[in-house]
Amino acid sequence: MAATKLIIGSAPQVDLAIASWQEIEPDLEIIGIRLQQDNAYRFDLSELDAIDAKRCTAFVAFDDQFLNFRRYELMAEIKSRGFKMPPLICQGTLVAKTTKVGENSFIGSGAIIDHHCQIGYNVVIGAGTNIGSNTVIAHSAWIAPGVVIGAQVKVSANATLGHGVIVTDHIEIGKLSVVDKPGKFSQHIPAKTFIYAAFDEDIVIVENRNANTHSLS
């Protein structure tokens, strides 16, 4: 007997995940939980208190808010309640047998992922994305539909690749970076760099670890 599936998150993502899951497992009983955020961005998860984690599996479907931190936190919250969170690999994907996909990851219809890739947990890979062999996509990354990623690429944790991005072989995209400007990227992108169509120049976060040791005057 198939267990019940809880799909938890923001409305459009939840609707997409429900439709996708129905396609691959038509007999699955699915409960969608569409969360509201208060103005401190907190979620009300009280609906889950009555649900027995042993009898259900769960999937968090949420957008890239706060550089994917909100989806990450929501997943951590659900997991700590004891739910199993298998990935959602939509119909019509071609994921090579030697490629591993982590918990709560989403792989959209028509995506092609070649051999020996590692897709971490909580990753979102949009429909029709193409990923070359031996590529690593670290946890909580967000890849928009149709993005093309070469072989032996590393997309680091919480990174976001927007529409129209092509990443060539051997490139590394740093942690928390956003590349949201159509075009081909053949150079490493450091952590916390934001390349965004609305800005002419790259945006960087500069940080000095020792600075906090200064005291206030």
Partner: protein
């Protein structure tokens, strides 16, 4: 009344070249944040008054040098921000912390410099003043005493507020097709806010910014350079951010702070929680890089999503800036040589003061 500046002042390349000499090479110019230079050999680079400059931490002391090798002009530091010893990548010369050449690889075999020659090879050093966490430099050989540009009171205000800066800063530069003076005038002109920013900025301000304008000033009174840089505050409904309990904010809540730092900086703070420094960096008569540095107040507890907060906030500031930019670029593109000067009302007294001091500075004989 008619502005003292003509349209030519905003478009003429000769006037621009003169400004680089008489203003940006004479006054104290904001150059960067002390918070980013805490570690030994941390540096930043930029161009001021047309001169490439590096500012670096030498064993705790912050110094400014010309960023050009004494050998064949290669830049000594390349990146905008970094951490590296002072040495040239072209032929490997290295420098001491007073800007003298320390070592020249293959000196005996290839260069044959005398001890005297070697002693003379050094980098031009610039005067530096650190006000709280704000670094100012002056590239004049005989720099203006800082108190002639910024009053004691204003320097004290800057020291206090900048002491609250977090050390994580998001930075970008927005190339804009207008003269730098237009942007400084624009930030002084509070009356544009409801018209140019009806959605983005106006709703944040509690009361209408329109109180009645000051009376026209008595004409013969001479405007002091130091009167152009000052702080002001305004009441504002500051949104409650989920992270604000994790930082130590500055000042009263629900306050919007503005600091006008002549000639080309506007430094604001929303509620003492978010700080934004905007600098209008002159590139040519009709091109300005608007440099944005944004940070939160210093963290008392680690904020995991700080990068996301900075990024989100920068995006919203950019929307406000783009509204100004669209307007100012349109204005600039319409200017012509013999066009009429602006016509100011009473509320624009500060624009007149700025013009008066500007013309004084431009006419001062070196």
């Amino acid at each position: 009344m008619l502005s003292k500046l003509s349209q030519k002042h905003y478009i003429d390349p000769d006037i621009f070249a003169k400004e680089q000499k008489q203003i940006f090479s004479k006054l104290w110019i904001f150059a960067g944040l002390r918070t980013l230079l805490s570690e030994p050999d941390a540096f930043l680079t930029r161009t001021i008054g047309g001169i490439p400059i590096l500012i670096q931490n030498f064993a705790g002391e912050i110094k400014a040098f010309e960023n050009q090798c004494a050998h064949r002009q290669a830049p000594l530091q390349l990146e905008a921000y970094g951490q590296r010893k002072l040495a040239c990548r072209y032929h490997g010369w290295s420098y001491t912390d007073d800007g003298h050449v320390k070592s020249i690889p293959h000196q005996e075999a290839l260069y044959h410099f005398t001890a005297d020659e070697k002693e003379k090879l050094c980098l031009r050093q610039f005067a530096i003043e650190i006000i709280g966490n704000l670094i100012f430099i002056n590239i004049d050989a005989d720099p203006l005493p800082i108190e002639e540009q910024f009053t004691d009171e204003f320097r004290q205000q800057l020291t206090t507020i900048s002491g609250y800066f977090s050390s994580q800063v998001i930075h970008t530069s927005v190339p804009s097709q207008f003269n730098w003076k237009l942007n400084f005038e624009n930030v002084l002109d509070y009356n544009h806010i409801p018209f140019v920013h009806p959605q983005t900025f106006k709703p944040l301000i509690n009361k209408a910014a329109i109180s009645s304008a000051p009376a026209r000033k008595a004409l013969p009174e001479k405007t002091l350079l130091s009167s152009l840089s000052y702080a002001s505050t305004m009441e504002m409904q500051v949104k409650k951010w989920p992270w604000q309990a994790s930082v130590e904010g500055f000042g009263e809540p629900d306050t919007f702070h503005t600091h006008f730092i002549y000639p080309n900086v506007n430094f604001i703070s929303v509620g003492g929680l978010i700080f934004l420094i905007q600098q209008f960096d002159p590139i040519s008569a009709s091109l300005t890089d608007v440099r944005l540095s944004l940070m939160t107040a210093r963290e008392t507890n680690k904020i995991r999503a700080l990068s996301a907060i900075l990024w989100g906030y920068l995006k919203s500031e950019k929307r406000v800036l783009d509204e100004d930019r669209a307007l100012l670029e349109g204005l600039q593109s319409n200017l012509y040589d013999n066009g009429k000067p602006s016509y100011h009302g009473a509320y624009e007294v500060q624009l007149q003061n700025v013009a008066e001091v500007y013309l004084d500075l431009m006419e001062t004989q070196p």
